[in-house]
Every structure is written in structure tokens, then in C-alpha cells.
């Protein structure tokens, strides 16, 4: 018997992964949650049919969302993470002893429950004493915050479904208000490659640039996401991602990483011409 998980990347392209067995399946109030064991990628998490993470390549995503801003501002103490139910982003953040408090806001408690049970690779640090989890709509949570955080990480799903509100101008504006005067916002910024993803990417950039004086993107390579070429947004009130990075300081922390290093940090902000053009015409 052959069992395959397939995700359409466009109407005409799909990625298929051979499944060893289904580990978990549940319809929550917000979405369908599936966890599978696979031959090639280890355990994988799927929400509403879209692949969220695999054990094999999640390190790329979670290192890049976390260490880039931490290297730009090593004094980050108070962090807000939106989404991130799998815990991978939290795992990376908790490696910094300098971070004092992490608010994690996830809409779907069931995702966290499932990951705690079946995805310990990422969920391992969710019990850290600095982490406070709130189950509510991210947009609603951030609306009530003012001048509070050094860093906001938006580790969201795609701009349709439960994560839709996290790609809007009102959300980024509310993040601006929630950040301190030297605050940084990192967000899951979609992909420039396939046209539907590229449109989402452009819209996100336009909305962020309307709220923040500094708004750029950086790239990373995630084999299981559509096209493999993916972006994070770096928006900030004060710090620039390259000019203000503290490479030496970060290196002395001795944090071991599989993907991120300070040279790659610099390189990630040098983006291809077609992406530059998409951003210019966002």
C-alpha cells in the first residue's frame, strides 16, 4: 500500500510526500489538524491541508525568524510571538538567557496540544517559565498593547484561513503601536516565486511599509514550502538589519545553529532583482 500526502503549490504544481502512518487528525474550531510520519521528512504538521513544518527542515525556518533580529538587537528582553503553535520559534528564543519574557498568542489551542503530544522536537520549550501562552486572535491581542515589546515575531499560516488578519495593514499598524521605540517586527512574508504567493508577498510589504519607517525582506530556503524560496519581513522603528547588526557580540553567545550564521545574515538581505522589482511595485 502506498499512502501519499499531496499539497497543491499552484493550480498546476504539487508536492507529494510518502506517508508512513497517520499519527493524529482532528478538526478544531478553526482548522483541520493532521500529523503524519513520513519516510523522508520525519514527522510533519499539516493545517487545513497545507504543510506547516517537517522535522527535517523546520530548523531553517525557526533559526531564521529568531536569530536575525536577536543579532540586530542583543538587548531584546520582552518578546511577543503570534502564531507559532508548534513551538519551534519559542524553542529558539528560549536559548537566549537575556530574554526575560515571551508572550505567545495562538488562536488554536488544539494545535499546541497536538504538538506537545506528538511534536516534541519543536514543542520542547513551551513549558519554559518565561513563556506565557494566550489563546486568542492575534489581531485582538496586539490591539490592546502599547509601547510594550522589543520584538514581535509573526509566525503565521498563510494569508487565507485563520491567519488572514495577520497580513493586514491594521495588524501591522497595531504592531507598531505595541512595539517600543526601538522595536523590531519579523513576519512570515510568503514567497516571491509563484504568482499568487507573490501577490500576498507584495500586499504584506505594502502594508508593512505603510506603518514602519524601515521595511525590508530577507530570504531563506525551505525545501518543503512552495518553490523552496521563502521570505521573512524585517520591519523596524530604528535599527537597520545590516548596519546595526552585532555580529561579534552574537558570536560570543556561543549559540550553535545549523543554518544561521552572521555571514548568512548579511547575505540573506541581498535579494534577487525580480524580488526587488516586486517590492518596488508592491
Amino acid at each position: 500500500m502506498e499512502l501519499w500526502f499531496s499539497e497543491p503549490h499552484t493550480k498546476n504544481v504539487k508536492l507529494s510526500i510518502k506517508i508512513k502512518r497517520q499519527v493524529y487528525s482532528e478538526q478544531s474550531r478553526y482548522q483541520r489538524i493532521d500529523i503524519f510520519d513520513t519516510f523522508e521528512f520525519g514527522r510533519i504538521l499539516v493545517l487545513d491541508g497545507f504543510l506547516m513544518l517537517t522535522e527535517k527542515d523546520e530548523f531553517i525556518y525557526h533559526e531564521m525568524i529568531t536569530h536575525v533580529p536577536m543579532c540586530v538587537n542583543p538587548n531584546i528582553k520582552n518578546v511577543l510571538v503570534i502564531g507559532a503553535g508548534d513551538g519551534g520559534t519559542i524553542r529558539e528564543l528560549t536559548r537566549y538567557s537575556t530574554i526575560e519574557h515571551i508572550d505567545m498568542v495562538e488562536i488554536d489551542e488544539k494545535v499546541v496540544e497536538a504538538c506537545k503530544r506528538f511534536l516534541q522536537q519543536t514543542a520542547s520549550s513551551l513549558e519554559d517559565s518565561r513563556v506565557q501562552i494566550t489563546y486568542t486572535d492575534g489581531l485582538k491581542f496586539v490591539r490592546t498593547q502599547q509601547d510594550q515589546y522589543d520584538l514581535i515575531l509573526v509566525d503565521s499560516t498563510d494569508p487565507f484561513g485563520p491567519g488572514e488578519g495577520l497580513f493586514t495593514r491594521e495588524f501591522y499598524g497595531n504592531c507598531f503601536k505595541a512595539l517600543k521605540e526601538d522595536g523590531i517586527l519579523i513576519n512570515q512574508h510568503e514567497s516571491p516565486f509563484y504568482s499568487d504567493d507573490a501577490k500576498s508577498m507584495q500586499r504584506a510589504h505594502k502594508n508593512i511599509a505603510a506603518s514602519f519607517p524601515i521595511a525590508s525582506v530577507y530570504q531563506f530556503h525551505l525545501p518543503t514550502y512552495p518553490s523552496g524560496h521563502w521570505l521573512f519581513g524585517f520591519a523596524s522603528k530604528k535599527y537597520r538589519p545590516l548596519e546595526d547588526m552585532h555580529a561579534k557580540e552574537w558570536e560570543t553567545l556561543g549559540i550553535t545553529t545549523k543554518y544561521y550564521n552572521t555571514d548568512l545574515h548579511k547575505g540573506a538581505f541581498y535579494i534577487p532583482n525580480y524580488v526587488k522589482e516586486l517590492l518596488e511595485h508592491a
Partner: protein
């Protein structure tokens, strides 16, 4: 008469059956299921085009219903507690006009609040009836017109014992209801009909703890915009009749102006929406009210905005408030409603129903999701943060009591002159001037033009209200009655 269950949809079922029969069509429409207009077929979908058919024996005829349309209308009447219901496919405008034109003839009087929709005054232009306006109260703080006070209606009835009918908005665009039951008792005791514009009141028939609906209050006719909050397609509507109405005459009046090619897409949407409301209405409107109440609470927490509701009720001009309406007063953040309306759309991709000088209105329905409600609240929070300013220079009133000096029909058909609008004070207006939406005329044919009104229209224009009604598309000139 056979009793059908509300689970049935006679017209929808007949269309399903018709579709499965794969008939050869040598009748209109000429697109023939979309084969004759491929781009339209791809755009609207093949199934939709196949259902866009003409009346024929198995599908009945809207002008003279004897089978499936008749049954569907009977089910609608039953669902709304009416004696008879008519499917209307020319918009609620047609339903309002049919009410007035089947009640008043030329020269006869009708008592109505001045904040009626343009369709009501249009009907007066067409049939020649004469309005007797009751001044709706105004809420000074919010700058919105309210409902009619029973005392004022009583006075109007005493002063005009020859009037044929009283017309009532239930509710107004902003969600405000008059004491409909008392008005009905009063009018009926003097032999006058009560006609109700329920364009925004479909849910009053199905939700719990709603203001009273027209049929229940004993009104004679009601125009119900099923498409607004009832879930049918845009332009489809219902005209409901109570017990003592000659409905055969009403049908004739409807047929004076309504199309003879009634759209089966619109009619079947009425049939299916009625079933949905009957079976699920309670739950749908419970959810709607929950959304609206949550939004009001959160918006009021933002500060500056005032999302108003039942606390306005005063046993008189605000006899009841429609809890599904999300009306928000914006002037205290230093922005006109229309400015907030434009910012929401242009900067945040959020389209709301309308903005006027001091308020915005968002329509909430069971089709909404938490996600969109959160977006609206957050966007309002951002607009306040980024654009909020001092409110001292804001225009602070909305309703101007008009002076009717000539019946609307006479003014509209009189010989006219065109004058620059800002120089028209003292003249008699011969056309409409209004912001759309809400489509409540600022000036109607036959009314005196005053400086106060011109200041208001000028301000509304500058703030970005979409002005309509005049022959001059740019609303720089106005047609006035050529006197002397």
C-alpha cells in the same frame, strides 16, 4: 389551498427539475445557457447562466402567478405572518412605490417622516400624492434623525383627517424604530392605512428580541428588502400585505411598472432565502447580534468612537433600536463619518455600508466571521491613532426640517430654470439632492432651498460624500421651479 412546509422551495425545485430536463430552447434569453456569450458564462458560471431562463408554463409567470411562484409567495407570506406576499425583482424601491401607488391617487395626502428613502418621494412624483411630513426627532449629539413621535403623528392626523395613509420607517438606516403598534392603532382608528418601509427590517420577522415587525404590529403593507439582511440576491425584495388589502389591485399596480421578464435568479434566491430564514433565522440573527454587541463593546473601549445602541431608547422618538446595526459616531475623533468610511476602504481594504457627516454604519450579518470583525475594530483603532484630531471645527447637525411649498409631482414637472447651486437660496427645488448612501434626500422636488441647506450640502461635498440626484452630474447646478 394546499399547505406546504417551510422546508419546501417550490420555485427552486421547479428550476432544478427544469434544468434536469435538458430542453431545447427557442425562447429568450438569447444567450441560451451561456453558449451565446462565452465570456459571460466563464465569468458568472455555467450553472448560473443555465438557470437564467424566461417564464414558461412549468416555471409560472411573475405577473400572473398561478403555480410555483404562487406557492413560493404563499410560503413567504406564511413565513412573514402576512396575508399575501409578492416577489419583487425591481428592488425594494418598486415595493415602496407599489405600496404608495396602490394607496394614494393624485392629490391625496400621505403622512410620512421626512427621512424616508428617495424611493418613497419618487413614488409621489410618479403618482401625484402629496406628502405631509412629520419632523422626526433629531439626536443633537449624534446628528441623526430619529423615529416619529406618536404625538406628532397624532397631530398630523388631526390636521389632515383626509390623509389616506401613514408611512413609517421600521427601522431607519441607523436602526431606529418608532412606536409602530401605537401608530397603527391610531391610524386605523381614523381609517388610514399604515405602510411600512422595512428595507432594513427583514430580521425583525425571524430573530429573537427584535423590535416588532410590521405585520405583527398590524400594518397594512410592508416593503421588505430580503437582499439586505435576509440573504437573497441584490435587487430582490418582498411586498407584504395585511388582511384588509385588495391584493388583486396591488398586483395590478405592481404590474404597472415592474418588468414582465422577472429574473428567475432573483426569484429563486427569494425562495431559498425564505426557507433559510424560516429554518435557521433565529440562530442566524442570534449570531449577528452577538457579533454586533461584541463589536460595539470593543469599539467603545477604543475611546473617541461611540457605537450606540439600545441606551438611546426613550419610549418616544427612539422607541426601539435594532441590535444588529453597528452605527458608530465618529465626530469626537475629529473625523467625519465619510472620512472614516473612505479611509477604511482606501487604506485598509474594508468596505462598510455608508458614512455621513458624523457617523458610519457597518452591516453585520451571520455571514461575518470573527476575523473580519477583529479587522474592522483594529482598523478603527489605527484610524484614530493615525488620523484622529481635534473635533472643534466639525459640523454638528444633520437633519434640516424642510419647507414643502409645492407637491413633489407639480415641482418636478413644472417649467424649470438651471441655477448655480450655491446661488439657489430662496428658490423652489425641482429635483433631488442627496448623499448616496443613505439616499435620504436633503432636498426633494417642491421644497424651499435655504442657506442652511446649501451650507450643509457644500460641507458634505467637501468631506467627500457622494452627491446624487441632480441633472447636473457634478452637482454644481440645480434645477429650480421657474416662478412668475
Amino acid at each position: 389551498m394546499k399547505q406546504l412546509s417551510q422546508e419546501r422551495t417550490p420555485l427552486h425545485e421547479a428550476l432544478e427539475k427544469h434544468r434536469s430536463e435538458r430542453m431545447a430552447h427557442f425562447d429568450v434569453p438569447g444567450h441560451k445557457g451561456g453558449r451565446g456569450n462565452k465570456e459571460l458564462k466563464y465569468f458568472l458560471g455555467e450553472e448560473t447562466l443555465k438557470l437564467d431562463v424566461n417564464s414558461m408554463k412549468p416555471l409560472d409567470n411573475l405577473c400572473h402567478p398561478v403555480s410555483v411562484i404562487k406557492e413560493a409567495q404563499e410560503l413567504a407570506a406564511q413565513a412573514f405572518g402576512a396575508s399575501e406576499a409578492f416577489f419583487i425583482v425591481n428592488g425594494t424601491t418598486a415595493a415602496v412605490q407599489a405600496m404608495i401607488m396602490s394607496t394614494c391617487k393624485a392629490g391625496e395626502k400621505i403622512i410620512m417622516p421626512r427621512n424616508v428613502h428617495r424611493s418613497a418621494i419618487n413614488a409621489l412624483v410618479v403618482c401625484g400624492a402629496v406628502p405631509v411630513y412629520v419632523n422626526p426627532g433629531i439626536n443633537k449629539q449624534l446628528g441623526i434623525p430619529l423615529g416619529m413621535s406618536v404625538r406628532d403623528v397624532e397631530q398630523a392626523i388631526m390636521d389632515n383627517p383626509d390623509a389616506k395613509a401613514v408611512m413609517v420607517n421600521n427601522p431607519t438606516y441607523y436602526g431606529i424604530c418608532s412606536d409602530l403598534k401605537s401608530i397603527v392603532t391610531l391610524a386605523h382608528s381614523k381609517g388610514m392605512r399604515v405602510l411600512v418601509d422595512e428595507a432594513h427590517g427583514t430580521h425583525f420577522y425571524f430573530g429573537e428580541n427584535m423590535p416588532i415587525n410590521a405585520m405583527r404590529a398590524g400594518a397594512d403593507m410592508a416593503a421588505v428588502s430580503m437582499h439586505k439582511t435576509g440573504g437573497s440576491l441584490t435587487q430582490s425584495s418582498l411586498l407584504l400585505c395585511g388582511e384588509n388589502v385588495n391584493t388583486d389591485y396591488v398586483r395590478q399596480v405592481i404590474n404597472l411598472t415592474q418588468t414582465t421578464s422577472g429574473s428567475y435568479l432573483l426569484m429563486s434566491s427569494l425562495d431559498i432565502a425564505r426557507k433559510n430564514l424560516s429554518l435557521n433565522g433565529k440562530e442566524m440573527f442570534r449570531k449577528t447580534v452577538d457579533f454586533a454587541e461584541y463589536a460595539r463593546e470593543e469599539i467603545n473601549k477604543l475611546g473617541g468612537y461611540y457605537a450606540f445602541a439600545q441606551e438611546l431608547e426613550n419610549q418616544d422618538t427612539v422607541y426601539a433600536f435594532d441590535p444588529t446595526k453597528l452605527s458608530i459616531h465618529t465626530r469626537d475623533i475629529g473625523l467625519a463619518g465619510i472620512e472614516v468610511y473612505d479611509l477604511l476602504r482606501d487604506d485598509y481594504g474594508i468596505q462598510i455600508e455608508f458614512g455621513d457627516i458624523g457617523n458610519i454604519l457597518a452591516i453585520i450579518s451571520s455571514g461575518d466571521r470573527n476575523l473580519e470583525i477583529e479587522r474592522l475594530i483594529s482598523a478603527l483603532s489605527e484610524i484614530k491613532r493615525l488620523y484622529g484630531k481635534d473635533a472643534t471645527d466639525m459640523f454638528d447637525h444633520e437633519y434640516i426640517n424642510p419647507k414643502v411649498v409645492m407637491p413633489p409631482q407639480k415641482a418636478f414637472y413644472s417649467s424649470k430654470r438651471t441655477v448655480p447651486i450655491m446661488e439657489s437660496a430662496g428658490e423652489i427645488c425641482a429635483e433631488f439632492v442627496m448623499c448616496y448612501p443613505p439616499g435620504i434626500p436633503i432636498l426633494a422636488p417642491g421644497e424651499a432651498i435655504t442657506e442652511e441647506i446649501l451650507n450643509y450640502t457644500d460641507y458634505a461635498k467637501k468631506k467627500g460624500c457622494f452627491m446624487t440626484g441632480t441633472q447636473d452630474m457634478s452637482v454644481e447646478h440645480i434645477q429650480v421651479v421657474a416662478q412668475g
